[in-house]
């Protein structure tokens, strides 16, 4: 499958390991990525916070470039970029909005393709059984809290992906890779996003709560699919520890790194050493024999069946 790839600015800096591992796992799973030529920034939060038309124009430029490529669909690893691209596409179905955007651009926008996250393409194009079958190194011993963040699933009408209160795509994927998934009620709580730059109290508290709850439910690491979430939880973990008055020492992986690890990819493709909270001790403990993993094992929070359909009707 051919994918037009929008890497996003952070892939060149703070989330280099996400970009590199995304490219590597896509190749390993049979997806061909081609970068959108001369792509530009989507405007991120500042863009849409100040003006929808400006944000729309910055995104539309990229989708317009992608529309000229021979690809099955457009993908990006970054939920924030995805949110902007999707909102642009969505809002431009309104001719009045499209006119506003077109005013800002050199040329009127053509019909734009629908963008997807790399994660959505992986979990929808491949079955968990197929992925489990490719696992060379099951992630036995990893107790993962799957953290989705806000933008992957919200707003549901625009994102059209997974259950927006209790998403399961990362959970199912990690289970297929042989990891244990811990129940995690804060899957879609906000980490504080980019406010950390201006007001570290916000991110420290919000991210701190996420890390605290992950630890409570027995996680020994967190998996993320968002560069900003990952940065808040990893790079700013020490600030969060300070705010919460406790040590977490939780490695924060990109899901692509763990997927690559399970597929047996080389560390140069995973860049584990880019993580600020070192995962090496944890990864060292994962010297389990490569055995087949039961794909039907579903990650569900432990809870008794309380359905009220009883024996009687």
């Amino acid at each position: 499958m051919k994918l037009a790839y929008y890497p996003g600015c952070s892939g060149e800096g703070t989330s280099k390991e996400y970009d590199v591992s995304t490219r590597a796992i896509c190749e390993a799973l049979g997806f061909t990525l081609t970068d959108i030529d001369d792509w530009s920034c989507c405007g991120s939060t500042p863009g849409h916070s100040l003006d929808h038309a400006l944000s729309g124009a910055l995104s539309a430029r990229n989708l317009a470039l992608a529309s000229t490529m021979e690809a099955d669909c457009v993908v990006t690893p970054c939920p924030s970029c995805l949110s902007n691209l999707k909102h642009a596409k969505h809002r431009m179905e309104d001719p009045a909005f499209k006119a506003k955007v077109d005013e800002l651009l050199d040329e009127p926008t053509p019909a734009l393709p629908e963008p997807y996250s790399v994660l959505q393409v992986i979990v929808e194009k491949l079955s968990m059984e197929e992925i489990a079958a490719k696992v060379k190194k099951p992630l036995k011993g990893l107790k993962v809290a799957c953290y989705y963040g806000c933008l992957m699933v919200r707003p549901p009408k625009v994102m059209q992906f997974d259950d927006y209160e209790n998403p399961m795509s990362l959970d199912n994927l990690l289970v297929a890779l042989g990891a244990e998934v811990v129940p995690f009620p804060l899957k879609t709580e906000c980490c504080g996003a980019s406010l950390g730059v201006v007001d570290k109290e916000v991110t420290s508290k919000l991210s701190g709560r996420i890390l605290e709850r992950a630890k409570q439910f027995g996680a020994n690491c967190v998996v993320s699919a968002c560069p900003l979430c990952q940065m808040n939880l990893d790079l700013r973990q020490s600030q969060a520890e300070e705010a919460m008055g406790q040590k977490f020492e939780l490695p924060i992986f990109y899901y692509t790194q763990l997927l690559g690890l399970a597929l047996g990819l080389d560390d140069s493709a995973l860049m584990m050493n880019k993580l600020v909270v070192s995962p090496h001790a944890l990864l060292k403990s994962l010297d389990a024999p490569a055995e087949a993993v039961a794909p039907e094992a579903k990650a569900e929070p432990k809870a008794e069946d309380k359905s009220d359909e009883g024996a009687a009707s």
Binding site: P185, R213, Q216, G310, A311, A312
Partner: protein, 657 residues
């Protein structure tokens, strides 16, 4: 023909935007119209008298009243003209209120349109023929569907009035939702104590035949003469032999089945009697969880039964009953709240529904009346009640208020304090709806005497966490909108006041009964104010929550009201059929049978006339819907009072402009 026209002012309702005098004057130009006038209130006594006088004075043989909707006053005016000696079907109504004055402001246009509608009515009238109703017998037995408190009340009242009652209950016991409740508001009296005299009455009353664990298979016929097929579901126990001794239940090895009577809290055996005061107190085997019926291995209950009542080879049985009227009292179910992911989607063990909490409070419940949370049996000290879960929520298609949750939540908060004096209850609410007798005082008591903390705001999410002592708590994140701040409560137990909807299967039953229902499964009454117990199908009445949310006293009242309707119906020696039904012109009928196929009431049968197949209408069954008329390729089947000629006369009257 000599036609008289009466154009009504309806006070200012019509007169304000229609020149009624001009309409009356104009109508004098219409064919056969010999008299026309405008009147202040035509439906009033003097208004009606003026019609009677005009009929006599001008020798009228047809009358048109231009006023409101025929749904409002057609019956009134038919009786009026009948008093003056005219056949009631020689009367027509032109609706110049709902169709004209209420919807338009342009007086000239309104006056023109009114005049046209009067012409239309008088042209139809010129094609009308006198019609006469048929008389038929009534089967003086009533079917009550649903054995909750509304159905029980209806059945007992009917039986008291000397009417034979057939009661059909879907589950193995009567009592409905009320039997599951611990106490009732605002009196805090024991629900099963006040209910059980009535359920016992049902079982002992000679006038009442109870079919428990049964469902309606089909209903045919018409008011006064319904034929009901009832599926008696197989209980695998011969109830004529079962004494309810309970030996089978004691010995049944399949014990881990979700307990439906206890709303899924706790487990029960594959053969069981739902609760100690169950009526009938007979055992039922649930095939999906019985080892003998599923795998063929077991048979313990048959071995221990002292009367040999266990019958593993029992099958469903269809029986037939003849009744003259039907009361539906099928109640409600809670909406599927597991779609609410923010409240745990049904996967958090200590987040329970209001009905589940009733079972936790009840002495006959799974915890014998001690409040213990389902996950670990902990006695909760901090209980959060959340109102409007799946009510007043447009985003999930539930815009309506479920009516009684405010009250039962106040009751549950009071009972929580009674059971666990050191506990603290919190109620998240949006508005407190307590308009009943002693209701608002009751919610005040919950706050003032029992220290329940009411917090005005919705809850955004419930998230489990692990406390330092290792116990799981539930972080309830809400808002106190009066304080203007987000708030959090670390709860041991969360109780959701889950919204209600029509009972499961209500829509299917409504189809069988040919009554209307809304998108939430509530049955439609005939008129929202003036006919709250009747349906649009003659002889079918409503009682209880099946018609719309209501509490116990209102359900009981409606049960009695439905019984009164049935008794009034049965007090007549014979019933009259509506003559506005289909009839066949046998010369035109080619016997194609299309009308038989489309008739929703099976009111048309094929007969042989000189060797040729012909359609024939069963007059008492036909409801006059007109589907046959629209389908007939020959125009051979017509509906009296709505014949093709009559309708075309109306069309012609309009199309000349």
């Amino acid at each position: 023909m000599r036609i008289g026209i009466f154009v009504c002012h309806c006070g200012s309702n019509i007169e304000a935007t229609v020149n009624t005098a001009a309409v009356a004057k104009k109508s004098l130009e219409y064919p056969d119209v010999v008299f026309a006038t405008d009147t202040m209130y035509t439906c009033s006594e003097p208004g009606q008298d003026s019609i009677v006088e005009a009929i006599k004075e001008h020798q009228l043989d047809g009358v048109v009243v231009a006023s409101c909707s025929p749904r409002m006053h057609e019956a009134t005016f038919r009786r009026t003209v009948q008093r003056a000696g005219i056949n009631p079907y020689m009367f027509e109504m032109a609706n110049i209120r709902e169709h004209v004055s209420w919807i338009g402001k342009d007086k000239d246009a309104n006056t023109n349109k009114s005049a046209e509608l009067v012409l239309l009515a008088s042209e139809k009238l010129r094609n009308n023929r006198p019609l006469f109703p048929q008389q038929f017998d009534v089967t003086k037995r009533v079917l009550v569907i649903g054995g909750g408190v509304a159905g029980i009340q209806a059945a007992l009242d009917c039986a008291d009035g000397g009417i034979d009652v057939v009661m059909v209950e879907k589950t193995a016991t009567i009592g409905g939702k009320m039997a599951k409740l611990d106490k009732t508001f605002p009196t805090i009296d024991c629900s099963s104590c006040v209910l059980s005299p009535k359920t016992v009455d049902v079982s002992q009353n000679e006038k009442i035949t109870l079919h428990a664990y049964s469902e309606i298979e089909s209903i045919s016929g018409f008011v006064g003469n319904f034929t009901v097929k009832i599926r008696k579901k197989s209980t695998y126990v011969d109830w004529t032999l079962c004494t309810g001794c309970g030996s089978c239940i004691e010995k049944c090895p399949s014990k881990k089945n979700p307990d439906a009577f206890n709303e899924g809290i706790g487990t029960t055996t594959a053969i069981n009697i739902p609760y100690p005061q169950a009526i009938p107190k007979k055992a039922t085997i649930y095939a999906d969880v019985c080892r003998k019926l599923r795998d063929g291995k077991c048979g313990v209950c048959a071995k221990v039964c002292p009367t040999g009542a266990i019958k593993y080879d029992m099958v469903d049985e269809i029986i037939e009953e003849q009744v003259g009227a039907v009361i539906t009292a099928t109640g409600y179910d809670q909406m599927d709240w597991t779609q609410l992911g923010e409240y745990g989607a049904g996967k958090l063990p200590d987040v329970v529904t209001g009905l589940q909490y009733e079972r936790l409070l009840s002495a006959s419940g799974p915890t014998e009346g001690h409040i213990k949370r389902p996950s670990d049996g902990l006695e909760p000290k901090s209980v959060v009640f959340i109102q409007c879960v799946g009510s007043r929520d447009k985003s999930i298609g539930r815009p309506y208020c479920s009516g009684f949750c405010c009250m039962y939540t106040a009751k549950q908060a009071i009972l929580t304090k009674d059971h666990v004096p050191e506990s603290q209850s919190y109620v998240f609410y949006m508005d407190i709806r307590a308009p009943g007798k002693m209701y608002d005082e009751f919610t005040r008591r919950a706050m003032e005497e029992y220290g329940t903390e009411y917090i005005r705001g919705r809850v955004s999410t419930i998230q489990p966490h692990i406390r330092p002592d290792g116990v799981v708590g539930y972080m309830v994140r809400g808002a106190d909108t009066l304080l203007g701040q987000p708030v959090e409560i670390d709860a041991d137990l969360v109780v959701l006041a889950v919204g209600v909807e029509g009972a499961q299967g209500a829509a299917q039953l409504a189809e069988k009964l040919r009554i209307s229902y809304d998108q939430y499964g509530f049955f439609m009454e005939s008129h929202p104010k003036l006919k709250p117990v009747e349906t649009n199908t003659a002889g079918v009445y409503l009682a209880g929550v099946c018609q719309g949310v209501k509490d116990i006293p209102t359900s009981v009242s409606q049960g009695s009201a439905a019984a009164a309707k049935v008794m009034a119906l049965f007090s007549k020696p014979k019933l009259q059929s509506d003559p506005q039904i289909a009839f066949v012109d046998i010369k035109r009928c080619i016997g194609c049978g299309k009308c038989i196929t489309v008739c929703p009431y099976q009111a048309i049968k094929e007969v042989s006339f000189r060797g040729a197949p012909k359609a024939e209408v069963v007059g008492t069954v036909c409801q006059g819907c007109g589907l046959c008329n629209a389908t007939c390729p020959q125009g051979a089947i017509q509906v009296a009072h709505f014949t093709d000629n009559q309708l075309l006369a109306e069309v012609n009257a309009l199309c000349q402009f």
